[in-house]
């Protein structure tokens, strides 16, 4: 049939990119590939600083069980504070520009 050659093209090429023994950081903007050692219980992402508890689906197949709450909570609080300060500063600047009639 007409579709003979095309069937499976996309998925088959993408399947070739799969990796085992590793997972990606749960921070969706980071997605650093992390490779825990056998039996390792926590892992810290060297790129974004988030830290996770590790579980093993089976030998050689690790996954993130969940965050190390204290660590990631601090990361979130710091990021929130920084963003709100930046937003406040931006607001003040806009107000100043308005007053000066820019």
């Amino acid at each position: 049939m007409e579709q003979e050659k095309k069937v499976g093209a996309t998925v088959e090429s993408l399947r070739a990119t799969r990796t085992y023994g590793k997972f990606r950081c749960h921070n969706p903007t980071c997605m650093e590939r992390l490779e825990p050692k056998k039996g390792q219980k926590t892992i810290k992402c060297p790129t974004c600083g988030m830290e996770f508890r590790v579980a093993w689906v089976k030998d050689g197949f690790p996954r993130i069980r969940g965050p190390v709450w204290e660590v990631n909570r601090k990361v979130a609080e710091d990021a929130f504070e920084m963003k709100m300060k930046a937003k406040e500063a931006k607001g003040k600047e806009a107000l100043k520009e308005n007053k000066e009639g820019k």
Partner: protein, 646 residues
């Protein structure tokens, strides 16, 4: 073969039953399942009818590939006008019912009228009978199915039923089959209850008659290999869908305390591995099971380990029950999730709407908008596990003022409660959002705002948007079968390119819903799972119908437009906060506070959201008000609807 399977028209008021062959022309235009149901709904339901009146029409169907040699084609679809939203009602479930109905010779049922007393339909090898269900009425989901088997003297009968919630006309009552296969969202169980239709039972031993059986089996082996080799499928087969909730909560994409937070902290007791431990302790090491013709086996089995329900058998919980009874209500304890899941399954009630509406009531209680007078003394404080379980029971049986009010659904309840309660209701088109928080993911926010049955993740969610896939990979997926050279972004916080992704996913999900394939077997959670390129062969080998990937895309687009036409006819208006393509203001006004660094401090910027909405309307061939243009309807061959061809 699949093409020989018929459609039946059943009038419960008169007892008349008529059967017809489904013409090939119709199959090529709508395939089957949800798509053909959308055509039937538009053609057979009176404009403006009362959703719980006899004029509402209930469609029951199996996907076109259901009960063939194609993998994971177990899906049953049910459609009617929704008593929850007043717009499109639609639900889809796995299990074993649709294959049994197909073996009994039928792919589609159109059920009209209202029976004088409770009845059930029995479909058996080309015959349909209306039987007395007065002895089955009032029974739980599981007990009803066993009672029907006893009544028919056949343990192999498969039934889809409404539970007590449907009988009590809870606006978000489910259609159920098996222990936990749930046709949830939009209240199709309520429509069954309103028709005095307790169940549809099926038993079939007719030939499956495959067009090219050897090739079909050979190709299916390859298909199965694609599915089972995916890491996402292997994780699901080990932990079930709770792994999705765990991962999403980890980065901050989960609603907690209704909409106050975007992460449920210290939820270790309800993480997937913990739930898996309970399943293993109560059911042994081989506690995963699956639907018809599926190799993933994502459904866990468990017994409730302690408390008043100790020892009760149940299946799941899905990630949706974790969200509903753990995250949203801030009760992150396995026992609450397992008991809540058990109750909604046995009552036949949508877990997402139930959890969402309880968490909304909890926020109203915290704000003083309702108090102990309305709750009949119940303390609805955050984290009160007993109150969550109690409210599930009160809603199903419409006990007390609050139970009865919430059973009407969010929008009706907000009108009764008054004050500014509507501002806190997290819904789109009258249906509660699922447990996810989309403030950091504009693509996902656009998905829920435009979904045809109200806020929903299973109609157009570009879930792989969270994987930060390189642009060339995104282009490979989203550039076929219709070429696309516009922008695409790997960044989940971006707005550009998302309208195309949502449009593509909408057609992808409609296609699997027409074919009857489970969404876990396509580009939903896994980027490496089959989609348009792979379906034509499955279709050809099993049914003999030749279609290109583009042909299937066109079917999906046509069916999505049929759903839109129905919604517009029933009152959808673009900017209507109750029936429009809009988000609750909190998405735009309240920044996220928890999760990954790039996730915190996020809102959906309204101007950018409106630009995305305008762009997706263009992709769909709709005008600026979200109405399909005459050219679009003509291109899709639905410019003369209702055409009454079937």
């Amino acid at each position: 073969m699949a093409l020989k399977r018929k459609i039946a028209y059943i009038d419960l008021s008169t007892g008349d039953i008529e059967t017809k062959v489904i013409p090939l022309e119709i199959r090529k235009k709508f395939l089957g399942g949800r798509g053909l149901d959308a055509y039937l709904l538009y053609n057979h339901t009176k404009k403006g009818c009362d959703p719980i009146g006899p004029d509402n029409t209930l469609m029951v169907s199996g996907g076109f590939l259901c009960a063939t040699c194609a993998s994971a084609t177990a899906r049953t679809h049910v459609m009617a006008k929704s008593p929850l939203t007043g717009l499109l009602g639609s639900c889809n479930m796995g299990g074993f019912f649709a294959p049994e109905m197909a073996w009994a010779g039928f792919n589609h049922l159109v059920i009209k009228g209202k029976a004088k007393h409770p009845v059930y339909l029995y479909i058996h090898n080309g015959e349909i009978e209306i039987r007395d269900a007065r002895d089955v009425w009032g029974k739980s989901v599981t007990d009803a199915q066993w009672a029907i088997r006893d009544d028919l003297g056949d343990q192999e009968v498969k039934s889809m039923v409404c539970g007590p919630a449907g009988e009590n006309l809870v606006a978000f009552a489910n259609v159920m089959t098996g222990i936990k296969n749930a046709g949830g969202r939009t209240g199709m169980g309520c429509v069954m209850g309103s028709k005095n239709l307790k169940a549809v039972a099926a038993r079939g031993t007719m030939d499956i008659d495959i067009a090219h059986p050897v090739e079909a089996l050979e190709f299916n082996k390859k298909f199965i290999e694609h599915i089972t080799s995916a890491k996402v499928s292997q994780t699901q087969g080990t932990l079930g869908t709770p792994f999705i909730w765990g991962a999403t909560n980890s980065w901050g994409g989960i609603r907690c305390r209704n909409f106050q937070y975007n992460q449920c902290e210290y939820a270790d007791d309800m993480e997937p591995e913990r739930i898996d431990e309970i399943c293993e302790e109560t059911m042994g090491p081989y506690h995963m099971t699956g639907c018809f013709a599926c190799q993933v086996h994502c459904r866990a089995q468990y017994k409730i380990p302690s408390g008043p329900y100790a020892g009760k058998y149940e299946e799941g919980p899905e990630y949706t029950s974790q969200g509903a009874f753990g995250g949203e209500t801030d009760t992150p304890r396995a026992l609450t999730v397992l008991v809540g899941n058990h109750l909604v399954d046995q009552y036949g009630m949508d877990n997402l709407d139930t959890g969402s509406i309880i968490s909304w009531a909890m926020e109203l209680y915290e704000l003083g908008i309702i108090d102990k007078k309305q709750t009949d003394g119940l303390d609805l404080s955050w984290g009160n596990d007993d109150a969550v379980i109690e409210m599930i029971d009160r809603i199903c049986y419409r006990k007390g003022w609050l139970g009865d009010t919430l059973a009407k659904g969010g929008i009706q309840a907000s009108k009764i409660i008054g004050k500014n309660s509507f501002d806190y209701l997290i819904q789109v088109k009258g249906m509660s959002n699922l447990h996810s928080d989309e403030r950091a993911t504009p693509g996902l926010a656009l998905n829920i705002a435009l979904s045809s049955r109200g806020s929903d993740h299973l109609r157009s969610r570009p879930a792989i948007d969270l994987y930060h896939l390189p642009e060339d990979v995104l282009r490979k997926i989203y550039g076929s079968p219709v070429p696309y050279d516009g922008p695409l972004s790997s960044e989940h916080t971006e707005y550009i390119g998302k309208p195309w992704q949502v449009f593509w996913q909408e057609n992808c999900y409609m296609a699997v819903d027409c074919l009857g394939i489970c969404k876990y077997h396509t580009t939903f959670l896994g980027a490496t799972l089959p989609n348009f390129d792979d379906w034509p062969k499955v279709l050809y080998y099993n049914t003999g119908i030749e279609m290109t990937p583009k042909d299937i895309w066109d079917v999906a687009e046509r069916c999505n437009n049929m759903e839109r036409l129905f919604n517009l006819r029933e009152g959808l208006k673009r900017d209507d906060p109750e029936k429009g393509d809009v988000l609750n203001h909190r998405y735009h006004d309240e920044p996220t506070r928890r999760g990954a660094p790039e996730v915190v401090g996020r809102v959906i910027e309204k101007d950018k959201f409106l630009k995305m909405r305008a762009e997706i309307y263009q992709h769909k061939g709709w005008d600026e008000n979200g109405i399909p243009t005459p050219e679009t309807l003509k291109r899709l061959g639905i410019d003369n609807e209702p055409s009454h061809m079937l």
